[in-house]
Subunit: 404 residues, 2 copies
Amino acid sequence: MAVGDSPLPPLHPVAGVRLASGEAGIRRTGERDLVVLELGEATRVAATFTRNLFRAAPVRIAEAHLAAGAPRYLLINTGNANAGTGAGGESAARSNCQALATLAGCRAEQVIPFSTGVIGEPLPADRIDAALPDLLQAMTADGWAQAADAIRTTDTRPKGRSRFLALDGGTVTLTGIAKGSGMIRPDMATMLAFVATDADIPDDLLRRLLRLAVAESFNRITVDGDTSTNDACVLMATGESGVQLDPEGTDLTRFREALTLLCQELAREIVADGEGATRVVSVRVREAASVAEAERTAFTVAESPLVKTALFAGDPNWGRILAAVGRSGIADLAVEAVAIGIDDVAIAEGGCVSPHYDEAEAARRMAQESFTLDIALGRGDHQATVWTCDLSYEYIRINADYRS
Amino acid sequence: MAVGDSPLPPLHPVAGVRLASGEAGIRRTGERDLVVLELGEATRVAATFTRNLFRAAPVRIAEAHLAAGAPRYLLINTGNANAGTGAGGESAARSNCQALATLAGCRAEQVIPFSTGVIGEPLPADRIDAALPDLLQAMTADGWAQAADAIRTTDTRPKGRSRFLALDGGTVTLTGIAKGSGMIRPDMATMLAFVATDADIPDDLLRRLLRLAVAESFNRITVDGDTSTNDACVLMATGESGVQLDPEGTDLTRFREALTLLCQELAREIVADGEGATRVVSVRVREAASVAEAERTAFTVAESPLVKTALFAGDPNWGRILAAVGRSGIADLAVEAVAIGIDDVAIAEGGCVSPHYDEAEAARRMAQESFTLDIALGRGDHQATVWTCDLSYEYIRINADYRS
């Protein structure tokens, strides 16, 4: 189950990036479960990882290897998160990095590992090693769509976005893929995202661009409020276009906006494919005293099981929304100043139902696959939007049954 | 659906308290929906209310009336929360208090109103007024069980506990009733609890006893993490037994423990009747650096939808528990020091599965209606227990359908 049709759009090759996907037999289903992504030598890489203190072995190794510099390969497996696997998990991940490095003629530290899937089962490292030679033979610049497919776990469909961006310095390409459908919330929950560009971006700037884009995209989504042990978002800049971005350049704003938009589209795709989701809802909180306040309020509403079951029912139950706003931790909130709407339909104001409230119209809006819960706090001019989905029977089924 | 059989035990009369219940026609079903509880003149009352900033009209009025002193009547209706009802809601509640006061010959400020039920619909105050004369005729010291039944909303069964307590100064009675099954979490969520004793307790001490008991009972339960607009817990001491409790007395500890235990039993009953609950689980966090840390960790685990769906499935998915512990906000947690068990069955330690793990035995424990998730943090000697239930299809059904 997922919200709407969302065929994978064309994913443009990024000069300096080649990929291959294959079957290592980690998933029981015999689907593709392994991706190798190769980066040109001049590529700069920035990454952000889960803030969960239980960090899977590949997360710890990926951070260390990125710190060592000059990354050349990403090695991504699905079907097994290599999390909660102790010292054995670390050696498994390290041995995979070494195996790929030996085949490719680089150092093990130049291989960055990523794993997603079931927690607590030993990673079948030998099967990954065995699959690597064929993958290295199959590397191609056109491998993005197949990679988007191969990194899925409970995702019902692959997720990718790609665009050309005409800058003053020339045209650059931005291509990204992502996976994740449960255990989603801020700080990169059960989510992997890999975004590449052929722009030439210095390290500091690349890290800043990633941080800004993630703050307004992947860190603004929630499916179930949980945060996984393995999440990562990687931004890679190969420089092969020859188009340089620098902190003072006029192209920077346009690039930042394009990157943020691409990440938002991928993030929204993750929510639309949220476990059991039948609707994608933007929870927009306006007129807040700060962005942090808007974000906290939006998350409290977006994560409330009572709000989410009302979204599933298509029920404009504004009492549950008011109650969630009221417990979101704003000490001096004036209840009378709060207004709530669905898209442009006013539903509540002054702490009670709006005099203009049209329940039939509100129910029609909520019957859509996608709409906006609009919450005005009457305290300032800051705002934040969080994307969430409804809570359905299917969510329970998936998570009561899922072990692989 | 509810966990286990739990017939209402005998509820002993409390000298100085009389009750009556009746049908005011607020609920569509024609069930009892109105309770009047009368207090002897010397009764002292302490109460704690929801911390949700959206406070229903009766909550605001109850606080003001209690502050005015000398309460004589509690007026409790179900079927309608009188929340999100604006100025009209306040006048409705005030007029009900006045109507009861006129009939009973006291001041309106001596009537304390409580409402629970659907949010945002006008309270049919006239129907309540019309039902009052019959109720006042029917007041009886034996009305506790009927009152426990009448205050239910989505509760599948009435909840009450009662005991005699032999103190050095003489024997006192403690009797309490509660309602609540969804929107439950700390700070009195969609929960009403009324506990009375015939002990003689000064105001300050009464407030302290209530605070201590609530902190370890009603504020340690969660069904869905939501907090309602109407919650209240009221502790009434009529003094009619002539047994005096004072801050220095030896009887105080015994009374405090008995009150806390009674509140814990009522709280656990609320979780056992949690919307869609099939299991009641105690989440005990030990070896924490502080009680607050233990409590926060326990709540993070107890509220995780992924943990709760695993509880529903009877699946000892320790990876989800570890992941929840890891995001609970302890900055310097040493993952290797954490141990997790189900009852006395070790399942995880050192950040991975326990070498002694017996999955079949763990699954047998989780198949029980009630068990303990035991989490040791290895950081100190503080602990806290939170009671939660699983997340089932039935929770979705109830909350996607419920509007009345």
